[in-house]
C-alpha cells in the first residue's frame, strides 16, 4: 500500500437520527489525491484496543480536493465501526485513511446513467451526480428509503430524482423503469443485498446487457463462529474471534496482508488454501465456485471444521 493519508475531522453533521456526515481535511493543509465518483476510502479506527478498518464510499464532490466526505449509517447490530464513528469521532479528531480506490466507477460508454439507491446506498451516487454535473452527462436517480426522515441528502439532491418510501408502501417500479430506458443506458445499484438481487434478476429477465448493469458489491464483514487458522508462510497459528475477520486477525498478529476494499469485491487479499479439513464459508463476490476448495478471501469469509492452513 502507498503511504496513508493523515487527516483531521472538520465537520460532523447528523443528517438524521441514524446517519452522520463526516468531512476529512489533510492535517498538513494542501489538497488530497483526486478521486472519481464511486470511490471509497478505508478509515482506520483505534477503538479501545481493537483496530477497525472500515471502507466508506466518498460522498462529496470529486472536484473538491480540499477535503473528503463520508456518510455513515449507524449499525447497532454491526461489529462496531459505525458506532465508533458515531460516538467517538468529533470535530478535531485526527484520523488515518487510505488513498481512494474505485471499485464502482461510472462507465464512460453510457449514453445515460440510471442510479438505483437503497437507503445509505445513496453515498456513491451523490459523488457521481456531482461528477456528471461537471461534464453535463445525462443521469436519473431513483432513491428508496424508509421514510422522508431517513432519506439522507433528500433535500440537497436536485434534478431528475424520484423518491420512494417504504412507510408509504411506495417502491421503485423496477420492471417498467428498466423497460423504458433507451438502449445504451447503464444501470448502477447500491443498497441492501435483497435490492441487489432484485435488480440483478429483473435486468436479466428483461434482457439488459450484462455489462451495462453495475453493482456496489462490497459489504462489511459479518460476524460468525470463531475459528483457528495456520499461516504457513508466517509459520504460526492464529485465532479469529467471532467479531473479527480473518484479515483483521492476521493484521492484529502483525502479519502483512494486502487489501483494497476489505469487503470481498476487489480480489486483493486472495489467499491460497494449503490444507482444508472442513467447510469454508465463502462470503465474497470475487472467487468463482471452481476456486472454492483452493482459495479464500480473508476479508469476509470464515471457516468451520478441523483444520485450515493458508499460504500467508
Amino acid at each position: 500500500m502507498n503511504a496513508k493519508l493523515q487527516v483531521r475531522v472538520t465537520e460532523v453533521e447528523a443528517l438524521n437520527p441514524l446517519i452522520k456526515r463526516f468531512r476529512f481535511v489533510p492535517r498538513d493543509g494542501g489538497l488530497l489525491p483526486a478521486f472519481s465518483g464511486g470511490a471509497h476510502v478505508v478509515v482506520e479506527m483505534e477503538d479501545h484496543g481493537t483496530r477497525r478498518m472500515n471502507p466508506y464510499s466518498l460522498s462529496s464532490d470529486p472536484e473538491d480536493r480540499t477535503g473528503y466526505e463520508v456518510t455513515v449509517r449507524r449499525d447497532d447490530a454491526g461489529r462496531g465501526g459505525s458506532l465508533y464513528m458515531h460516538n467517538h469521532v468529533a470535530v478535531g479528531t485526527e484520523m488515518v485513511i487510505s488513498h481512494p480506490v474505485n471499485l464502482f466507477p461510472l462507465d464512460g460508454r453510457a449514453k445515460k446513467h440510471l442510479f438505483l439507491a437503497g437507503g445509505i446506498g445513496i453515498t456513491p451516487f451523490k459523488a457521481m451526480i456531482h461528477q456528471l454535473g461537471h461534464i453535463g452527462a445525462k443521469w436519473e436517480l431513483h432513491y428508496a428509503s424508509r421514510n422522508p426522515g431517513l432519506c439522507a441528502y433528500g433535500d440537497l439532491l436536485r434534478g431528475p430524482v424520484q423518491f420512494y418510501y417504504d412507510d408509504d408502501k411506495s417502491f421503485i417500479p423496477l420492471k417498467d423503469l428498466l423497460a423504458r430506458q433507451p438502449l445504451g443506458t447503464h444501470v448502477y445499484c447500491c443498497g441492501p443485498k435483497g435490492m441487489l438481487a432484485w435488480v440483478r434478476a429483473t435486468a436479466a429477465e428483461l434482457g439488459l446487457a450484462e455489462h451495462a448493469v453495475h453493482f456496489e458489491e462490497f459489504t462489511a464483514p459479518q460476524p460468525g463462529a470463531p475459528f483457528d487458522v495456520d499461516l504457513v508462510r508466517s509459520g504460526r497459528r492464529i485465532h479469529v474471534p467471532a467479531h473479527q475477520s480473518l484479515l483483521e486477525a492476521m493484521e492484529a498478529a502483525g502479519v502483512d496482508a494486502p487489501y483494497l476494499c476489505r469487503g470481498g469485491a476487489c480480489g486483493q487479499c486472495e489467499c491460497d488454501v494449503v490444507t482444508l479439513d472442513g467447510q469454508i464459508d465463502h462470503r465474497d463476490h470475487w472467487l468463482a465456485p471452481t476456486d472454492h476448495k483452493t482459495k479464500i478471501m480473508p476479508c469476509v469469509s470464515r471457516f468451520a471444521g478441523r483444520a485450515l492452513a493458508i499460504d500467508r
Partner: protein
Amino acid sequence: MKDATMSLPPSILSRPVYGVLAPRPGLAHLVIADGAGAGAVADLFAADPGIAGRAHVLYTPGPDGGDDWAVIEALGAAQAQRAASVPTLLFRLARVLLDAKAGTQCYLAGSEGLIGQAERDLMAQGVPHQDIQKEHRGSTVRRVQCVHCKGITEAVRTDPFVCSHCGLSLYVRDHYSRRLAAFQGVCIDAEEPGNIPPAVEKFA
C-alpha cells in the same frame, strides 16, 4: 459456400473471434446479417421460436454477392428489411437505434466487415461489446485501414494489396481495431521501395 462457417486460423489476441448465436431473454431482438449470415439467423430463430415475434432483422447481400433474403423473409420476423448495401443498412440501423430500448438483445451474423461496423455503431450507442453476440459465416474478405493515409479499403482479398486511397502496397495484419471496425494495413516496401512480393489470394 452457403451456410458454411469458414474456419479462421488461430492468431494474435486482437484478432476477433466469433461464437454461435444463442437465444437470450429480451424485450426485443435486433438482428443484423449479410450474405451467408442468414443461415445463422435461421438457426437462432429455430432455437427459440419466441424470438421471431419480437425480432427486427436488417439484412443485406454479402461481399461475395450471396443473397439469402428468401431465407430471412421466410422466418416470420416482426420486422425484416433488406438493404441494398452495408452503408444503406447502417443508415437504417442508425434510425432503429434512436428508438431502441435497454432490453434489446443484439445479434450480428455474416461477414467480418458487416459484423464489425454494426458492432461499432452499437458500441457508440453505449452497448458493451461483450454483450453483442457475433457469428461469422461466409466470406472472409477483410475491411482494412491504411495506417498511412487512414483510408479504408473494403473487401480486401489479397495480401499485399494496393490501398484504394493512396496507392501504397499494404501488408494485411491480423491486428484489428474495434473502434474502426477494420484490420490494419502497413506499407510493405517502406525499407526497400519497389520490393513488393506478389499478391497472394488469402481471403475469399
